[in-house]
C-alpha cells in the first residue's frame, strides 16, 4: 500500500509518502524551489518522495489532499459576501487563484502527475489531528488542533483511539487564534508565516501591558473558546487585516524595518500572554471533556514553543506529543496517515522518533562537488570527524553540520545545522550578525544530551523535535549564555544515542571537552530555506563566516 499526501496553495506546500507501512519520505517544496514557505504545487517534493522510495507515481495506490477545497471556497465566498461591497476588490483579486489552482486540485494532480486516481480530500483539521495522533506513541489520546484557518475550522478537539480519530467540536472562522497572531505579526511589521516566531521571541522583552486591550477584541470563555470582535478587523478588504479601530486601541502599525520600541515589545508580550491563556484554557477544557491522560497537539499555532511549554507544565495531561512539522506541511502527512490508518484500517505504525525524512546525499556526490569546486577538504572517519568538530566547537568555532537525511518541518535537528559553543557570551551576537543576518533579539536553541538535561534545566523531559522551552537553572545561566533567552529559558532539543547517532556522539565529545552536554543548534541557512543539497550547504558556508563545515564524511575549512 502506497499513499501520497499533498498540501499546497497557501503556505508550506509539502509531499509525504507512506509505503509498506511506514513514512518513507516527507519534504516541503521550499527546500527544492528555494522559495521560503512556498505555496505552489509540490511537484519537486513529490518527485523526491517517490525517488526516495524507489517508486514511480504508478506505484501509488492513493492520493490524499490535506483539506476540502470546495468547503474552503464556500467559506471564502460567504465571508466576502458578508463584507460586500468593501470586499469586492479583494474578492476579484482572490478568485483567479481559486479558479486557476485551488478548485482544480484533482485536475492539477492528474495533469502534473499523469495519473488518474480519485483524490481523497481530508478536512484540514482532521489532517492536522491525524498528523499528531497517528504518529504519537499513544494508543489513545485527546487531540487539539489550532491554526489560522482550514475550511471553516480554526481550532478543533476530539480524541483518538487505535486508528480512529473523532473531532467533536470546532471553532470557526473568523474566531481564530492563529489568524489573530498573524494579524498582529503583520501589524508589528513582520512577514506573516515567518514573523510569528519573531513576535514570540520579541514578547519576552516586553510587558503584557496591552492584555486588557486584547481582551476587548478577544472575548474568551473559560473553556478556551472565544470570539474575535470583528469590528477591529477588516477581513477580506485589502492587504492589512486590522482596521482603524484596532489602531485606535493599539496605536499605529510598525512599518517593516522600523526600529522596535517598548510599545511594540509590549504588544508582542500581550499577544503572547493572551495566546498562552487561551491555549491553556482550551487544553484544560479538552482534558476535562476527554478524560484522557495524553494529549496530541497539531496546527501551526503549536510551533509556539513558549505556549507549548506552559501547556506542558500547567495542564493535567501526563504526556504531550507534537509532531515536528506541526504546521500545514505536516498536514500532508496527516492526510496520508488518516487515509492509511483511519479509513483503510491498517494497523498503527511505530511512533515518530526522528524527523529525518528528507533527502540524503552520498559521500561520493559530496566529494565530486568539493573536488570540482576546488575546495580543500579532508576525508575522515566518523570518530575522527566527531573529535575534530568537537575540538573546534570547544575552541568557539562555528561549525556547519550537514549529514544524513534532511529534517522534515521547520527545525534543523542535527542534520542541517549550524553549531556553536553555548557557553560563549558573544556567540549569540556573532551568529545573528555575521551568519544568520537576523534580528538581535532572536534566541538560539540548544541540543542537549537527554540524560544530562536536569543538570542545566528545571525540567526533565524529552523534547526530541525542539518544540518546547525549558527554564535554565539560575546557577547555570552564566554557563550557557548563548542559548538562554532573556526570560531565562532555552528552546531545547533532547538528544539520545538511539535516535540521533553521530550527533549524540558529537555533543558527548563536546561535553568531554567543556563539561557542557549541549550545543547551540540553529538551522543551516541564511535568510533562505534550510539548505537541502551539499551545493547549497557549501554556498551558505562560503557566503557566511562559519569556521568550518562538516559535510558527509568530509571536513572543509574556510
Amino acid at each position: 500500500m502506497t499513499i501520497l499526501g499533498i498540501s499546497c496553495y497557501y503556505h508550506d506546500s509539502c509531499a509525504a509518502l507512506i509505503h509498506d507501512g511506514r513514512v518513507v519520505a516527507a519534504a516541503q517544496e521550499e527546500r527544492f524551489n528555494r522559495d521560503k514557505y512556498s505555496p505552489v504545487f509540490p511537484i519537486q517534493a513529490v518527485n523526491y518522495c517517490l525517488q526516495e522510495a524507489g517508486l514511480t507515481i504508478y506505484d501509488v495506490d492513493e492520493i490524499t489532499f490535506y483539506e476540502k477545497m470546495y468547503l474552503k471556497f464556500e467559506r471564502t465566498v460567504l465571508s466576502h459576501l458578508a463584507g460586500y461591497p468593501f470586499t469586492l476588490r479583494n474578492f476579484l483579486d482572490t478568485m483567479p487563484l481559486w479558479l486557476k489552482d485551488r478548485l482544480t486540485v484533482s485536475a492539477t494532480i492528474e495533469d502534473e502527475l499523469s495519473i488518474k486516481r480519485p483524490v481523497r480530500y481530508v478536512k484540514h483539521h482532521l489532517s492536522h489531528a491525524a498528523s499528531g495522533f497517528l504518529l504519537s506513541p499513544f494508543e489513545r489520546a485527546a487531540i487539539l488542533t489550532v491554526d489560522g484557518v482550514g475550511e471553516y475550522a480554526c481550532a478543533a478537539y476530539g480524541s483518538g483511539s487505535g486508528t480512529a480519530i473523532e473531532l467533536r467540536k470546532e471553532m470557526h472562522y473568523p474566531h481564530s487564534l492563529g489568524l489573530l497572531y498573524s494579524i498582529v505579526t503583520a501589524y508589528l511589521g513582520f512577514r506573516v508565516f515567518s514573523g510569528e516566531g519573531k513576535v514570540m521571541a520579541l514578547a519576552e522583552y516586553g510587558e503584557p501591558s496591552f492584555l486588557d486591550e486584547f481582551r476587548k477584541i478577544v472575548h474568551a470563555r473559560s473553556d478556551g473558546s472565544f470570539e474575535l470582535d470583528t469590528s477591529y478587523f477588516s477581513f477580506n478588504r485589502g492587504d492589512r487585516m486590522h482596521n482603524r479601530r484596532f489602531e485606535k486601541l493599539f496605536g499605529s502599525p510598525r512599518p517593516p524595518g522600523e526600529e522596535l520600541n517598548d510599545r511594540h515589545r509590549n504588544i508582542a508580550a500581550s499577544l503572547q500572554r493572551l495566546t498562552e491563556i487561551v491555549l491553556i484554557d482550551m487544553v484544560r477544557h479538552v482534558a476535562r471533556e476527554s478524560g484522557e491522560k495524553n494529549l496530541c497537539l497539531a496546527g501551526g499555532v503549536f510551533l509556539n514553543v513558549t505556549a507549548n511549554s506552559r501547556i506542558r507544565e500547567e495542564s493535567d495531561f501526563q504526556e504531550i506529543f507534537i509532531q515536528p512539522a506541526a504546521g500545514d506541511a505536516g498536514a500532508a502527512l496527516g492526510a496520508a496517515l488518516y487515509l492509511y490508518h483511519s479509513v483503510l484500517g491498517n494497523p498503527r505504525m511505530p511512533s515518530l522518533k526522528s524527523c529525518a525524512l528528507g533527502a540524503s546525499f552520498s559521500d561520493r556526490a559530496i566529494q565530486v562537488l568539493l573536488r570540482n569546486r576546488g575546495v580543500r577538504f579532508r576525508a575522515m572517519e566518523s570518530d575522527e570527524l566527531v573529535a575534530e568538530a568537537a575540538d573546534r566547537l570547544a575552541a568557539k568555532q562555528i561549525v556547519g553540520w550537514f549529514r544524513g537525511r534532511m529534517e522534515f518541518g521547520p527545525r534543523a535537528l542535527g542534520n542541517r545545522s549550524i553549531l556553536a559553543h553555548p557557553g560563549d557570551p558573544e556567540m549569540k551576537d556573532r551568529l545573528n550578525l555575521i551568519i544568520k543576518h537576523r534580528e538581535a533579539f532572536r534566541p538560539f536553541g540548544a541540543s542537549v544530551l537527554r540524560e544530562h538535561m536536569a543538570e542545566f534545566f528545571e525540567q526533565d523531559w524529552s523534547s526530541p523535535f525542539m518544540l518546547f522551552i525549558a527554564r535554565v537553572h539560575a546557577a547555570k545561566i552564566d554557563a550557557i549564555p548563548a542559548v538562554v533567552h532573556v526570560n531565562g529559558s532555552s528552546r531545547i532539543q533532547t538528544v539520545t544515542s538511539e535516535e540521533n547517532g553521530i550527533y549524540y556522539d558529537l555533543i558527548e565529545a563536546f561535553r568531554e571537552r567543556t563539561g557542557l552536554p549541549m550545543l547551540l543548534n540553529t538551522s543551516f541557512n541564511d535568510s533562505e530555506p534550510i539548505v537541502h543539497t551539499p551545493e547549497e550547504a557549501l554556498r551558505c558556508f562560503e557566503d557566511t563566516d562559519m569556521d568550518c563545515l562538516v559535510i558527509g564524511g568530509y571536513l572543509v575549512e574556510q
Binding site: 524551489n33 528555494r34 518527485n47 504508478y58 502534473e112 499523469s114 556526490a365 565530486v368 562537488l369 570540482n372
Partner: protein, 344 residues
C-alpha cells in the same frame, strides 16, 4: 606547448570559442554558472513527472510505445531498462551498426533485449564507409561523430515512422545535452550552436557542402540535424520526439550501472573510448582526429558538462578521457576504411 586546460572542466583553451580567464576558468563554465545564477525560480529543471507527462500522452495508442536506441552501452541499456521496467512501456529496440561496432557490443545489446523480452530491429550498413574515408583522406577537420549521428538519427526516424512509434528514447546522458534543460526537449538535444561546438559545427557545415553534397552517392544525405528533423516530418511523416530518461532522474551512472549489472548482467566492454563507455571502434579515430584538430573531442564536452553538473570529478573525467590504446586499433579502423595503415 600544449594548450591550457580549464581548471574546472576538461576543455582546453581554443580561441575564439573557448577562452580561459586569468584564474584559469573557461567561458563555458562561466556561462554555466551565470545560467544557474539567473535561473528563474520556477525553472525547476526536468523532473521524472515531466517524462511521465510525455509518455502518458502516447502509452498504449500504438503497437510500440517507443523506439529505444540501444548501443549496448551503459547509458542506452539503462534507458531501455527504465522504459521497460520502471515506466512499463512496450518498446521496440533499435540497434544501428555502421560497420564499426564490435561484435561484443552487439552481443551485449542482444543479451539485454533477450532478458527484457522486447522486440528488436538490427540495422547494419556500409553506406557511410566512403564518407568516413573521405573525412580521413581529405584531412578535413570535420568530426566524424556528428556526421554519423545525422545518418543514424535519420534512420531512427525512418524506423519510428515505419512502425508508427511516437517516441524515440535515447540513452543520452545529462552531459550530452547542451543549452538549457528546457530547450533540450524542443531541439532533441541536438543544439550544436553553443560555443564549445561552434568550430566543429562550422567544419561539419563546410565539409557537408564541399564534399558530401557534391557526391552523387550522398546527395540525399542530411546536412544538419535540423534537416534530419525536416525530413522526418515531411518524408516520413514522423512526429516522434526524442528524449532520454537520464535527463529526468537525479544522479548518473553511479546510480544506474549497479542496477543494470544486477538486473541484466550488463558489463563494461573490453575496448572503448572514453573508458567505461561502449562506443564504436571508429570512435577511437574520430576522437583522436578531433583532439589533433581542436584539442578536444565531443567527449571532452560531455565530460565537462558532467563535471559542472556534479556527476563526475575533473580527475575522473581526465582519467576516463585518456587515450592509452596502442596503434593497432587505428590500423584496424583504417584498414576497414581501405586506407593504408599509418600506425605501428
Amino acid at each position: 606547448m600544449s594548450a591550457r586546460i580549464c581548471n574546472r572542466c576538461v576543455l582546453p583553451e581554443a580561441p575564439p570559442d573557448i577562452r580561459l580567464d586569468d584564474a584559469g576558468m573557461c567561458n563555458i563554465c562561466h556561462n554555466f554558472d551565470e545560467e544557474q545564477r539567473c535561473a528563474e525560480p520556477d525553472d525547476r529543471g526536468l523532473l521524472e513527472t515531466d517524462f511521465l507527462k510525455i509518455i502518458e500522452k502516447h502509452r498504449g495508442k500504438h503497437e510500440y510505445d517507443c523506439l529505444c536506441m540501444l548501443s549496448g552501452g551503459k547509458d542506452s541499456t539503462a534507458a531501455l531498462y527504465y522504459v521497460k521496467e520502471r515506466y512499463k512501456l512496450n518498446p521496440l529496440v533499435f540497434t544501428f551498426n555502421h560497420g564499426f561496432v564490435p561484435d561484443e557490443h552487439i552481443a551485449s545489446a542482444q543479451r539485454t533485449v533477450e532478458k527484457l523480452g522486447v522486440d528488436f530491429v538490427y540495422f547494419q550498413t556500409n553506406f557511410m564507409k566512403d564518407l568516413f574515408r573521405k573525412i580521413v583522406e581529405t584531412k578535413s577537420k570535420v568530426v566524424i561523430c556528428p556526421v554519423c549521428s545525422l545518418w543514424y538519427m535519420l534512420k531512427t526516424y525512418e524506423i519510428a515512422a515505419q512502425f508508427d512509434v511516437p517516441i524515440i528514447v535515447s540513452g543520452w546522458t545529462k552531459g550530452q545535452t547542451t543549452g538549457s534543460t528546457r530547450s533540450v526537449l524542443s531541439k532533441c538535444a541536438c543544439d550544436q550552436n553553443p560555443d564549445e561546438f561552434k568550430a566543429m559545427t562550422e567544419a561539419t557545415r563546410r565539409f557537408m557542402k564541399e564534399q558530401v553534397k557534391t557526391d552523387p552517392k550522398y546527395r540525399d544525405f542530411p546536412m544538419t540535424m535540423e534537416e534530419v528533423l525536416r525530413i522526418a516530418k515531411k518524408k516520413y511523416k514522423s512526429k516522434a520526439i526524442v528524449l532520454s530518461p537520464h535527463w529526468f532522474v537525479p544522479g548518473g551512472p553511479d546510480e544506474y550501472v549497479p542496477v543494470i549489472r544486477e538486473q541484466l548482467g550488463w558489463e563494461y566492454t573490453a575496448r572503448s573510448y572514453p573508458r567505461q563507455s561502449t562506443n564504436c571502434d571508429l570512435n577511437f579515430l574520430a576522437s583522436k582526429l578531433a583532439m589533433e584538430n581542436y584539442g578536444y573531442s565531443v567527449y571532452h564536452i560531455e565530460m565537462s558538462n558532467m563535471i559542472r553538473m556534479g556527476l563526475v570529478t575533473r580527475e575522473e573525467a581526465l582519467d576516463l578521457l585518456e587515450m592509452d590504446v596502442d596503434g593497432e586499433i587505428f590500423d584496424d579502423v583504417l584498414k576497414k576504411l581501405n586506407i593504408e595503415a599509418q600506425h605501428q
